[in-house]
Amino acid sequence: MPDPHISVTLVNELNLLAAGLFLLATFGLVATRQVLDCVALFAGQSVLLAASAALLGHEAASDHLYAVAAITIVAKALLIPWLLRRTASEAVVARREISQVLNIPTSLLIALGLSILAYFLAAPLRAAAPAGQVGVNLPIGLAALLIGAFTVTVRREALPQVLGLLSMENGAFFAGVAIAPDLPLFAELAAAFDVLVIALVMGLLTRKLQERAGSTSVADLTDLREE
């Protein structure tokens, strides 16, 4: 069924591909148990975000979006994985997560449900303001936002929780490159700075958890439960 909101050109096709792969990477973050693979998936997701920004920039002939793509590559695809590996110790990064709140098939089914929900939530919004690639980027970005939140809640290991958090931000920006393409560049830079601080602070906190609690399993943190 052709969607009237999506016009078919090569750039649009490529953006659709990037969006599909972006969602796939987000699903991957739910299902992957190897911490190192999660970091790689996040880097891949960030590259796809940058790709979508560059494609939309090409379509609108906007240097601004090219700059956003460059910022995303440097901050999220390169610096954050490096920071996380540097701050969290080897033992954390190499860990394979055994305990999980929900098994992988159930998690994936819920993630699927969330993407369908995101599609229906986004539908009236893009009808309210139809514009270009919004039809692709808004539902996918919203889906990544929701799935990221879900990842944070089901993960029991510190670093995957952080990656879920960062993928939420990626989701918001994936929608952002379509709905707010001319957001002041200074704000984009500041936002990149913000995610870097997240990675640094949470990475250091993970290291402290490892040192003091001897584990980075968030499930073991139950001292503060109120009776």
């Binding site: 952080v162 939420m168 929608a175 402290k208 003091r212 943190l221």
Partner: protein, 481 residues
């Protein structure tokens, strides 16, 4: 120019506190001086805003109006008193050899203040979001100052939950930008948005509002997103509790309430209803949870949630209660640090924050006992203190507008919280002393912080000075819709 100074001062102070010195008092002294200077500058800005002017340093990026000035002064004042208290706190919480730890504490303290003071000064809504996100990130290691795993657990919960909220709010900010562009406006500032309110697609504005309400609401610890707050306050150092409490009940209501003018006419009622619902739920939930509290710092933590709820509910009522909402915001931000400092003093003499384990605090240290009792009365809005007047003004305002059900529910929360807090605190203050051993001397910096924090609570409880009332009236126009 003065706005730039306020922004840069915490960073300079952090740099100075970092300088390695053999004297342990240097970082604390630098911090107290810097926060005192910030407070003076903030008061100067407020003075200019009270005449109805907007202080602008960089159009569309950095400016301050009456509402912003109110939040600025409150945060600067809390920063100053918390810095005073921190001097005595760090001396007691660390070993003589741990000068580095004290230094790190004050460096982080100053770094934390920078985004806090930036929230009311930034006018670009995207930058405000970043400042709010940074207030969490830069306070994480202050929360985990105590080296226990419990403190780390609290810091982790705090970081994860409020950052999730920040991501949701980010989506809201981006949708709001979209709505603004659809409305044909250029200026992504609070005033620019309010000017474009009529032209923006209502559905987009409402979506943005809800995402930002839930996102920022998580950081403001609205029920049901509040679970991290009592854990954090039970673990964080006392001065940090005081500061966090003020930040959460001033800057977050500020960024949420600033969205109200985006709903012109009838739509404002819809947005107001959401605020009212979340506010009432928070106030009632916190009032109920206050009954079962077993820890003194958690007691004040739930009181913070309750007050955040009252502030937002009153803002949602609008009309005459809208003024009361900001009045409550001011009075709570002045009273809560005093409450936490009193709890800190009580902890020093009782040796524990467990409520059931402490009795007869007043016999062991009359000053600490009196302070705790006064703190409990001040934060729950008992008559001689300022919160009583603002709570009354909210209830009156709601009754004038014939909103009797919310008024009745709010009254119930206020009375319930009062009884619960007083029940717990009187058990600690009166009776036979449980703790034994030599009574420590009352630290001078504790006494000074308590005194400085106490003065405005009492003064504003007697009457509202004309300049403050003028500033409040001007700020309340920001809620008009």
């Amino acid at each position: 120019m003065v706005l730039w100074f306020i922004l840069i001062l915490p960073l300079i102070a952090a740099g100075l506190a970092l300088s390695p010195s053999r004297h342990r008092t240097v970082p604390g002294g630098v911090t107290v001086l810097a926060t005192a200077l910030q407070l003076l500058l903030a008061l100067a800005v407020a003075g200019r805003c009270a005449s109805g002017a907007t202080v602008t340093a960089l159009p569309a990026w950095l400016s301050c109006d009456a509402f912003g000035a109110l939040v600025l002064v409150l945060c600067a004042f809390a920063g100053f008193t918390a810095a005073l208290f921190s001097i005595g706190f760090t001396r007691r919480a660390t070993q003589p050899m741990e000068a580095g730890r004290v230094r790190r504490y004050f460096v982080r303290f100053n770094l934390f203040l920078a985004p806090v003071l930036a929230v009311p000064l930034f006018s670009n809504v995207a930058l405000v979001w970043i400042a709010v996100a940074l207030t969490t990130l830069l306070s994480i290691f202050l929360v985990s100052f105590d080296r226990s795993t419990a403190a780390l657990e609290a810091a982790w919960k705090y970081a994860i939950l409020t950052s999730m909220g920040a991501a949701l709010a980010l989506f809201g900010v981006l949708v709001l930008y979209w709505a603004m562009r659809q409305g044909g406006a250029e200026d992504f500032t609070w005033s620019g948005l309010a000017a474009a309110a009529g032209a923006m697609p209502p559905l987009l504005v409402k979506t943005a509002f809800l995402f930002m309400l839930v996102g920022y609401g998580t950081k403001a610890a609205l029920v049901p997103f509040h679970s991290w707050l009592p854990d954090v306050y039970s673990q964080a150092p006392v001065p940090i509790c005081a500061l966090l409490s003020v930040v959460e009940t001033t800057t977050l209501p500020y960024v949420i309430v600033r969205l109200l003018p985006l709903f012109p006419g009838k739509a404002g009622d819809g947005a107001g209803r959401w605020l009212l619902a979340f506010g009432l739920l928070s106030a009632m939930g916190a009032a109920l949870l206050l009954v079962q509290v077993k820890d003194l710092k958690r007691l004040f933590a739930y009181s913070t949630i309750e007050n955040a709820g009252i502030i937002l509910a009153a803002a949602g009522l609008g009309g005459a209660a809208g003024y009361g909402s900001l009045y409550q915001l001011v009075n709570h931000a002045l009273a809560k640090p005093f409450g936490f400092f009193a709890a800190g003093a009580a902890l020093l003499f009782a040796g524990t924050t467990e409520i059931a384990a402490v009795q007869g605090l007043g016999r062991r240290s009359p000053l600490a006992g009196a302070a705790l009792l006064a703190g409990a009365l001040a934060v729950t809005g008992a008559p001689p203190f300022a919160l009583f007047l603002s709570e009354l003004s909210i209830l009156q305002g709601g009754a004038v507008d014939h909103r009797f059900l919310p008024v009745a529910l709010l009254t119930l929360c206020m009375v319930g919280a009062f009884c619960a807090v007083l029940y717990h605190v009187t058990r600690m203050v009166f009776g036979k002393a449980t703790a034994s051993g030599p009574v420590p001397a009352f630290p001078r910096s504790y006494a000074l912080a308590l005194f400085v924090a106490f003065v405005p609570v009492v003064l504003l409880g007697v009457s509202l000075p004309a300049p403050v009332e003028h500033l409040l009236r001007l700020a309340a126009t920001a809620l008009a819709r």
